[in-house]
């Protein structure tokens, strides 16, 4: 049982003590008398996101189907097993649990404490670094990797990808690794922008009473608009290409934080430079026409996250698009300028530290002349938020 849950975690599925206890309760209630139902119970308890279905199925198959015959998972085994016994002895020895307390704990309480310790330890060991290479997992076989062609692997000079036939493999950013920087969220929250908006539907009781009193008891109703957060934020992510991979961890942690903080937040994806379209989905198959995207500039904040590191010809040449099938005839630079003009409140976040911009690539400075650019550090993000706020 312990290794099943550990394998789930290794497969990048977030597991909390809460789920484990729920699973335990479900088993105690006899909700999993056979393998099929065990599968459903475990999936209901542990999997909250369709993105994880595939990974879950593989772990489950490996764990319960791989050994020929399967055995009902037995919680007694957990209690009798070595990890639990050792943990208990340790807790008793260092006084975290006293013998008297132990007698008052139920099984669930003990399990909860045991798993809390275990999950914490695991969390420290592998802070979610196994995720590279899991990018192609997709639910129900809608493979994001379809399509032939070849990809030239390996990093070129300074991470510059030369013109290749891209296999359009993608790295899935949306996984949630435990976050190191809690304060990113507070910084981003300062972008929140509450305004009275919408129809006047909320009865302003104080005003109504005041006016009514003035009117000599003749009722006068006063309505006010509701408070609503009207801030729209679009995040454009560079999600392909080898030059970004060393920075994905950083981007991911910010990504996870941004998610919860805005009323209207949409993600779009691009690859390396922008040529006439952005994409709605990770594998970049659903394109949004340029005009439609640019049209929202007036009331939307835009954050671009990318390393701005590309072969100079991608930016400058008129046929620089990495995609051979693309027929874009304008250089990337032109598209970027147009984007910047359309989004007065926009900022480029670069995962490469500021100090290395001049040496890393010439294109960084060129793009920084078009977009205000900051690096993905706390200070950089704080600056970026200020830049966006000024253009409100």
């Amino acid at each position: 049982m312990i290794s099943f849950i550990q394998q789930l975690r290794e497969a990048e599925i977030p597991v909390s003590v809460r789920y484990i206890l729920e699973f335990y309760r479900g088993l105690q209630k006899g909700l999993a008398p056979d393998l099929d139902r065990l599968f459903l119970l475990a999936r209901l308890v542990f999997i909250k996101n369709v993105e994880h279905y595939d990974a879950f199925e593989r772990v489950f198959a490996h764990f319960f189907l791989g050994k020929g015959s399967w055995k009902m998972p037995d919680w007694e085994e957990v209690f009798a097993g070595k990890p639990f016994q050792e943990w208990l002895r340790e807790q008793l020895e260092n006084g975290a649990i006293s013998a008297a307390e132990l007698r008052t704990y139920g099984m669930e309480e003990l399990l909860r404490r045991f798993w809390e310790t275990l999950l914490e330890q695991r969390g420290q060991h592998d802070g979610g670094h196994t995720w590279i290479g899991t990018g192609g997992r997709s639910p129900f076989g809608h493979s994001g990797r379809a399509g032939g062609g070849m990809r030239v692997y390996g990093r070129g000079l300074h991470g510059t990808a030369q013109k290749v036939i891209d296999k359009r493999s993608y790295v899935n950013y949306s996984g949630k690794s435990p976050l190191a920087r809690e304060n990113v969220s507070q910084i981003l929250a300062s972008l929140k922008n509450l305004k009275r908006a919408g129809p006047e539907t909320e009865l302003d009781i104080d005003q109504t009473i005041a006016r009514t009193a003035k009117n000599g008891g003749e009722i006068e109703l006063v309505f006010a608009r509701e408070f609503r957060d009207r801030l729209k934020l679009a995040v454009l992510l560079d999600n392909g290409g080898y030059s970004m991979i060393p920075y994905l961890d950083l981007v991911k942690s910010v990504f996870g934080k941004i998610r919860d903080h805005f009323k209207d937040l949409e993600y779009y994806y691009f690859h390396n430079c922008l040529y006439g379209a952005v994409y709605q989905d990770l594998p970049r198959t659903r394109a949004i026409p340029w005009e439609a995207f640019v049209g929202r500039g007036s009331d939307t904040h835009l954050i671009i996250i990318g390393d701005a590191n590309m072969a100079p010809f991608e930016l400058m040449a008129s046929n620089g698009s990495l995609y051979i099938q693309g027929s874009d005839r304008r250089p990337g630079q032109e598209w970027l300028k147009e984007l910047r003009a359309a989004f007065p409140a926009s900022v480029w976040l670069n995962p490469i530290p500021k100090g290395r911009w001049p040496t890393e690539s010439v294109t960084i400075n060129q793009i920084a002349r078009i977009f205000p650019m900051e690096d993905l550090t706390l200070a950089g993000i704080r600056n970026a938020v200020q830049i966006l706020g000024r253009r409100r």
Partner: protein, 276 residues
């Protein structure tokens, strides 16, 4: 209590089991998946199968969560205090006469167990979801005006649906059992069609389904789903046509494609093919 589909509703064994697990574990069941996979219907069918009442909340983006529990009608009370409550029997001094319970409030206060459906929860914003979460988990809410706590007599069977228009917050997902309903394949959908059209000729069914799945693959903005399929087959049958028509000339295309853009696209595609 065990849930096993009803005569008008095809329940996949998997989904049935999921419903039963959620009920025994007393967890809200969050159903995701594209429109037309029977998410909302499921709640109705559960209520029907168990013979219990249902409270339904169709979410709107303006919801703040509280109105699903109760509404305090201040305007009415003001009005009554000025003009008198007349023969309505309301007592201006009694706030309870001006409190109206929403679906959650009614489900909590009911004498019997109810099914509570929160439809299209993704339309609400994340603050609302967080508010609802606490209410649903504790089985209680507080009427702020009089600081009165309402506690559920029987925990309702909670079914939540989402079209994934917006991502739900992690804490919300954590407190639900989540299930993604994939769009039914040809086999399942044949069962569904037969439930609605007894004795439909095999040939007609097959021809309809072929066209239906072909249309679905063409990437329309609103691809036809189960409800559209049933309407369409109904239309084809009622006119006594021998077949559904194919490719360029599908009969009653308006029942399948609802968006004008999709219809134009459908017609455009076919016009081009006529010139070829």
């Amino acid at each position: 209590m065990k849930f096993e589909g009803t005569e008008r509703y095809y329940l996949s064994p998997e989904l049935g089991e999921i419903v039963n697990i959620s009920i025994s574990m007393e967890k809200p069941l969050l159903l995701m998946g594209e429109a037309g996979t029977g998410k909302t219907r499921l709640a109705f069918e559960i209520a029907r199968a168990f013979g219990i009442d249902m409270e339904e909340a169709r979410c709107k983006s303006t919801f703040k969560g509280e109105e699903l529990c109760y509404v305090y009608d201040t305007v009415l009370r003001l009005n009554d205090s000025r003009f008198g409550s007349g023969e309505s029997g309301r007592n201006v001094n009694d706030i309870w006469d001006y409190l109206r319970f929403g679906p959650i409030g009614r489900a909590f206060l009911a004498e019997d167990r109810r099914v509570l459906l929160l439809d299209e929860i993704d339309k609400t914003d994340s603050d609302t979801q967080d508010n609802l979460l606490d209410v649903l988990e504790d089985g209680s809410f507080t009427i702020r005006e009089i600081n009165h706590k309402v506690t559920a007599r029987h925990m309702p069977i909670i079914i939540i649906t989402s079209n994934a228009k917006r991502e739900l917050s992690d804490p919300f997902l954590r407190r639900c059992f989540c299930h993604y309903i994939p769009f039914p394949g040809p086999e399942e959908i044949s069962i569904i069609v037969r439930l609605h059209f007894h004795g439909i000729p095999e040939q007609l069914l097959e021809a309809c389904l072929t066209e239906f799945y072909r249309l679905r693959e063409q990437g329309f903005e609103k691809p036809p789903a189960t409800a559209e399929l049933l309407d369409w087959i109904g239309a084809v049958r009622s006119t006594g046509a021998s077949g559904p028509g194919a490719g360029k000339a599908i009969r009653h295309i308006g029942t399948l494609l609802k968006r004008s853009q999709d219809l134009l696209k459908y017609k455009g595609v076919n016009q081009k093919s006529q010139f070829r």
